[in-house]
């Protein structure tokens, strides 16, 4: 594969965007990425989105978005539930790496707030196993609650031990103008927040939202070295969707496999990662991701939060722009937001939450409760 670089990023504020259609939101992120890249168009668009068919009555979304952005270019939608954004980047990457395309826009978009909450909950549940999980009436958050309860039982953590993950996310989002929730939370807020699905309460969970993010990628040899952001590693792995089919409920096997493959490609290990945008849909997922990717021993993920290792100046900064928890989780767009944020870190554009001298960053996007996991490692060089 020929090396690929990211030369443009764009994003919209995650919010309830009732006055904007899904195409409008996607277009805004794409135009921002084009402007940032200094380009007028691209040879292709790969669009991550999970639920436009259900929520927006719109399939065939990619050419619609391309057309609305004034680009009649080859365009395709990639779907891997909440991992759609990362999957779209990986598909776009291969299009450039193969030599087939010289420039590609990768975008992720989701517009979720036009429907009422129970419809959105039903749509989110399509990320689980329809025949064996949904059929039993379990929601997506319910599945994560099953994992978290077992994890707490197995390793002896109490609920408040997960608080630092959410507190860090909110503290960082305060400095991200694109974040949905721009307010601090305290340990007391965390402990008092409403229970959603025991043991997951409101502040363990990420908020949905309407938003889009975009990237512009090109062959690395067309960009001057010294300032470029390379995609040094890219890997995807899968596991069973249904939790009851997993050999181990408390280990994200697909995260382990995709991280190992990405580390190998990039020639790095966990110790080399300066910033890690992980998929903190729920606080339990933060712990499991940190463990599967080699930053903590099994069952010891919460320790990193309690010890202050995850802040922008800690050993392994995570959710530096707010993460899913506070930046927000427009599901099919999230994977692209993560990569945009890693690029911002590597460019040194993060102000108050800048990780000092960040040179290597990782983004990991999860579809379902660990079924699809896509890891990207970026390097500034």
């Amino acid at each position: 594969m020929r090396p690929v670089a990211i030369i443009g990023i764009g994003q919209t504020k995650i919010d309830e965007q009732w006055e904007k259609s899904i195409r409008q939101i996607a277009m805004e992120a794409i135009l921002a990425a084009l402007k940032d890249a200094g380009r007028a168009s691209a040879e292709g668009l790969f669009l991550g989105n999970m639920m436009s068919g259900i929520i927006n009555s719109q399939n065939n979304l990619a050419p619609l978005v391309a057309d609305w952005a004034g680009l009649t270019i080859p365009a395709v939608k990639v779907e891997a539930a909440c991992g759609s954004g990362g999957a779209a980047l990986r598909s776009g990457l291969m299009a450039v790496a193969s030599g087939e395309l010289e420039s590609v826009l990768v975008a992720g978009v989701e517009k979720m707030t036009d429907r009422n909450p129970h419809e959105v909950t039903a749509a989110l549940a399509t990320a689980a196993d329809a025949d064996y999980e949904l059929e039993m009436g379990v929601s997506f958050i319910g599945l994560s609650a099953l994992i978290m309860r077992r994890y707490m039982h197995e390793y002896g953590w109490k609920h408040a031990d997960f608080a630092p993950f959410a507190i860090n996310a909110h503290a960082n989002a305060l400095h991200n103008p694109f974040a949905r929730l721009q307010h601090k939370i305290t340990l007391e807020d965390f402990e008092k927040s409403a229970m959603i699905a025991t043991p997951i309460n409101l502040l363990d969970a990420s908020p949905i939202g309407d938003g889009a993010a975009a990237l512009y990628i090109v062959p690395a040899d067309s960009v001057q070295s010294g300032t470029r952001v390379l995609i040094a590693g890219s890997a995807s792995s899968t596991d069973t969707i249904a939790l009851h089919d997993r050999s181990d409920l408390l280990f994200l096997t697909a995260a382990f496999k995709s991280a190992q493959a990405a580390y190998k490609q990039a020639g790095v290990g966990p110790k080399d990662i300066d910033v890690f945008e992980l998929h903190d849909a729920f606080t339990i997922m933060t712990a499991l991701s940190l463990e599967a990717c080699g930053f903590a021993e099994r069952g010891q993920g919460p320790r990193l939060g309690l010890d202050g290792d995850i802040t922008p100046t800690g050993h392994i900064p995570v959710m530096t722009r707010g993460g899913l928890k506070a930046r927000g989780h427009p599901v099919g767009a999230t994977g692209v937001y993560q990569v945009v944020e890693v690029v911002q870190q590597l460019r040194g554009e993060c102000g108050e939450t800048q990780v000092p001298e960040a040179r290597i960053g990782m983004a990991q996007n999860i579809g379902g409760s660990g079924a699809t996991i896509i890891t990207h490692i970026l390097k500034r060089e």
Copy 2:
């Protein structure tokens, strides 16, 4: 790009498969392709599907299908409405061509008959522009009817002039054990069939169905030449989704562009194509595809049917296994069925409907009323 070859094909009979889940149908096609290729697994799965989120309450479909087939491999769903199958092949092709993966399964699946017809009609309509077309109450077939009515007015054809397309499709499907409609039809049947959306009647339209098809692709240099089927051309183009935004309602610009790009890659022209599996969702689309791809002058597509040029022994055989019209149209799977059928022709496996000495074949898959068009050219060599 390094050249890529198809070494395995699989398909299921298109039917109402009420006793089988979507994962089961997809698995059957995948296992058939693995068996045909003589392989036990692959390094990745690219799955074309349009409406599993709406109809089957199942997103994250690709890892689900991979798991059910006993393959915990990287897997992603590609969506481009009815062009999803062709789009999945193109994504899989780039994964192999880039050197990232050494073997890839490409599959398409759709399970549509579990819902009642008005729900399926609504799901199909998501291929159109939700905000500007669906909002007006127009169905997907209604949009095609608008095109056909204008075409007949503009070029002076009468409805019966489109009959040969449907008659040829049914005559060929009679010899395809995987086809949904295995019966002949006559001109009288065509003229007497029920009106659906003037001027489109029942026998202008393709039937939906449940079905899956699969391909196994590898780098061409790993296969002995002389017997291999190469993907010699692959191109995707897009146009506006909404018909009112088209500069020309009666010309498939995206078909023209993607066919021209594929011809150029393959170093061939329309005269070299021995067999053409086109996207005959409605008879009008057959005429427009033949014109856009250079087989007929503008407005003269129906002439090829009336002159007998489209039969397996004609100048440009189309729908040689039944086409969408009689093989059936499980929307997200159709593009893969088309390529499977071209491979069958190039291998000389088509019996009664074998195109003599077929060496170069083309498949063209359409998403929406011409919004996404993907063309593949295959060569036996």
